[in-house]
Amino acid sequence: MAAFFEAETLTKRFGGLTAVDNVSFTIERDEIVGLIGPNGSGKTTMVRCIMGILNPTSGKIRFKGQDITGWRPWKIVQAGLAGTFQVVKPFRHLPVIANVMVGCLCPRITRRGEWVKSTPVKARDALEFVGIMDRALEPASNLSHGDLKRLEVARAISTEPELLILDEPFGGLNPAETDLVAKSMARLHKGGRFGRLHSEGPAMLIIEHKLSDLMKIVDRVIVLNHGKLIAWGPPEEVVRDPAVIEAYTGKEVPIA
């Protein structure tokens, strides 16, 4: 049986620089996978290829049995794969809630025909879920960096994805906030209804360059270095992998 999500020999070159080099991996439907690697190891570039924002130089991406390589981003979202940006990209002049409503207006949601009534309510529930409901009516430019990160997540989950890619969701968050987001990720992964917001119980690919925040929630970890896949497996094993320790320039693996 084909895997739920599969990247096969994915490669992305920028001129002479190979940012992602021949990477292959799979994600199963019920997994949370961590993707770690030092700065500049090509994590963001790889997920941008997967999300259809960049065109991979070569390689195949399969999702739910379809070959989605080179699809347009909105078609990929339509198929059930959504992601967030490492450098936040809010719609700055729009109110926070309108940011999320855009996600509720994508064809994946509106094809059920109930969007007229449910859009604002659902957007509210998504904001409630990530915990920034009290800022709903302010313009997004008023939010702090941590809140913008959460807004990114709310916008992505409002499209009800089956595979959710989060690019450094904890970047710039303080430990308390990190904990909060990690918990809500775990809840989201279980699936179900949160008010109007429906969760498919998505599989997740969470990017982070420190493993410590991920340890508790991920089932499996993939490690990139210089664009190459150097290790994969359960988190406890990966942190002991010599190649990984080497990649983090011989320093102690930042687990604690």
Binding site: M51, G52, I53, R72, P73, W74, V77, Q78, A82, G83, F85, K89, P90, F91, R92, H93, L94, A98, M101, V102, G103, L105, C106, P107, R108, I109, T110, W115, V116, L137, R155, A156, T159
Partner: protein
């Protein structure tokens, strides 16, 4: 039904100065011919109505959707020329040629946006700048028996027999067109999603795509809407002046839309209306006065000075001065009130914060 309208008026319009002004504006437009029958005044307001449609259509495309178009005259000119050609060769009535001209202009919008889809920011603006100029040169190269050459297609039938008829026709079309465009771009609308999506595309196109929005479709739609209403304006203009000339494709026509909209306030329908209805009559009223020769100079200097102090546009600035949003329920209130008319939250506090 009537009671509900009245209720809407009492609660939705009367307490909000901006809306009172908007309603008053339309009332004045509609009773003006009853007060004066001065031909030149009526003609001026008729033209201002046409230019309003044109300016608002530029705002929809460039302000709301962020596809800053330097060549909006293309739509104006295509609307004018196609209704002119339809009359010249098929002898059709303005009632047919104007809507058809607008449709052809919408088509022109779709065609021009095909190369423009891959471009961003100034590249898009400067590419679009080229299209009307290119078309103007082509029109001049076509034998005058067909497209009128340097003079244009003359002898078009008038929109209506009397100045008052033309006035009301254009005023009504303007009102309807502006309302339609207002609804299409209303980000808070429950039933039309284009408003919110246009805003999203302007703010961040990549993010909009990654949120599942087919931005190409909506950009094409924005070009088609801009083209359609720009085309209506152009076709009305041609029939009003009974000539569709190359001036409708000129670079100044494109720039004029930009001047009006930004002066009034970009990304606001009412700003565009205010922009046209202040600047256009200003120039026209100075005609024949002792400062006749300096009227464009006066207008341009005024635009510079006002923009320097109100970069967000004159209408937007004034509205912020006379209206205030409730911090709790976001309802719009008259700025002099001290508490929100619905939820009673204090407004002063916000006013102080805004002042600092």
């Amino acid at each position: 039904m009537f009671r509900r309208l009245l209720g809407n008026f009492r609660w939705g319009v009367l307490p909000v100065p901006g809306r009172v002004i908007a309603v008053a504006f339309f009332v004045i437009i509609f009773v003006l011919p009853l007060i004066t029958d001065d031909r030149s005044t009526l003609h001026m307001i008729t033209l201002a109505s046409i230019f309003t449609i044109f300016a608002v259509s530029w705002d929809v495309l460039s302000g709301y959707t962020g596809q800053v178009n330097f060549g909006h005259a293309l739509f104006f000119g295509v609307g004018a020329y196609s209704s002119g050609l339809l009359y010249r060769f098929l002898g059709w009535d303005p009632a047919v040629t104007v809507p058809l001209g607008a449709l052809i202009a919408a088509l022109a919008g779709v065609v021009t946006c095909l190369p423009a889809l891959r471009l961003r920011g100034p590249y898009l603006s400067l590419l679009t700048l080229a299209f009307p100029l290119l078309l103007a040169e082509i029109v001049r190269a076509i034998p005058p028996e067909i497209a009128g050459g340097y003079v244009g297609i003359t002898g078009l039938p008038r929109l209506a027999a009397t100045p008052m008829g033309r006035y009301y026709l254009c005023a009504v079309v303007m009102l309807v067109a502006v309302l339609v465009m207002w609804k299409l771009t209303d980000a808070g609308s429950k039933y039309v999603r284009t408003g919110l999506l246009f805003h999203a595309i302007r703010e961040d196109e990549i993010a909009a795509r990654a949120t599942g929005i087919n931005t190409i479709r909506y950009k094409v739609l924005a070009f088609a809407i801009g083209g359609f209403f720009g085309g209506i304006a152009g076709a009305l203009y041609a029939h009003l002046l009974t000539v569709a000339g190359p001036g409708t494709l000129g670079i100044m026509m494109s720039f004029q839309a930009i001047i009006w909209v930004i002066f009034g306030g970009i990304v606001s329908i009412y700003g565009s209306v205010v922009g046209v209805f202040t600047l256009y009559p200003l120039v026209e009223l100075l005609r024949g006065t002792p400062v006749h020769d300096y009227r464009f100079l006066i207008m341009a200097s005024m635009v510079i000075v006002i923009l320097l102090f109100m970069p967000e546009g004159i209408a937007v600035r004034i509205r912020h001065k006379i209206e205030r949003q409730c911090p709790r329920c976001k309802l719009t209130n008259f700025a002099l009130r001290s508490e929100c008319r619905a939820c009673g939250a204090a407004l002063r506090h916000v006013a102080d914060k805004q002042a600092t």
